[in-house]
Amino acid sequence: MANINELMEGWGFGKQTAIGTANAGTAIWRHTNLNTKPWAKVPVNEDDRAEIGKGHEFPTQLFRSHYNMPPFELSKYASSEFLAWAMCFSLGNVTLTGSGPYTYVIVPALGATNATGLELPYFSFVQQIRPGGSAVLDEMLVGCAVKSWKLSIKNSPGRASAMCSVECVTTGQYTAPSGITLPAVSTPHEFNAGMITALTFNGINYLSGGSAKQFVSMDASWENNFRPGFFPGSGSQDGYQIQGRFEWGDRAFAVQFVVRVQAGSTEYATLINLTTGTATFTVTRDANNSFSMLIQKMGFSVAELGNTDGIVTLQITGVQLYDATNGLVTMTIVTPITGICQ
């Protein structure tokens, strides 16, 4: 038996060369995770109960079917390293520059021009408990992809004020034992809400001017809506069919935020007038660690009056419009780590 806090998790910060080719150990980092569940492997069996000709309706035989791998959540305090990783692997079109710190500029890939079509970069995931001769758990899941992420900013103290959770999927292919010696756990450069240095949504600056100090919280999320990856030739493991690709479907980018209401608040007018503008969210820890989300054209679809902890607030639902020149959103991340998604 083992306690769950013995679980060590590492995953590829570099991308796999192909969905079925695992990351080398040199491209795998080790991080902590607030999600306390390991990534379960779920082989599914089927039987012959529906087949007639047996003389009865009961099943007589089992058959291996497929690996039905549940999504897995990486839940972490937002840091420059983790945000760079999440954005690179979820959006797909990455430019890396600099010589330390490194700057990642990331936009959503388009199927028409993406070198891998509708597929995003893949990575490997390693989970171990007491690896070695008598390991409780030691396996590497191959062909993982980022299905979705959620970035949450709250007006609370500490690291929990800036959180990022990432939902991952995997094919069912694995290697056990992993053959990987995980490095020491990384110490990411984490953010908190106090480090926000730009916060302008659709022309309203919530850091300075009349709307300063009015911002309460924000939730931004991305969903790739992957299609199931079973197809002729998708592969097998242990006699079970595995998925051979994750193609994005209709992707969704959602932003909601809550602001305090005051005399002269302009959010209602902005909504009613169908006003659109850029939205800039930047959090800066230091010269080597920052994250900026530039939404190229945002309008408001809902402005709902309510209260937050007794203060009158508006919950704004943004509509992120695609700009013909600048696209939907650009993420710019500065971090000391190179090689992410390379």
């Binding site: 520059t97 500029v105 993406n114 900026s292 530039l294 020149t325 696209g327 650009t330």
Partner: protein
Amino acid sequence: MDWVLMQSPQGELREVEATTEALTPLMVAGWHQVPAPAASPVPVAQKPVAPTEEEK
């Protein structure tokens, strides 16, 4: 200022200023980063230069 070598979907290579403003429209149009060659085997477009006044 850093520069980065980008390639268009049609194969054109261009050295671009590594800023969000300069990179975004190209990346949205499908350009992607390629490694800078040690000795350039293919012609690379010149960096943009400041416009000069035409002679009258």
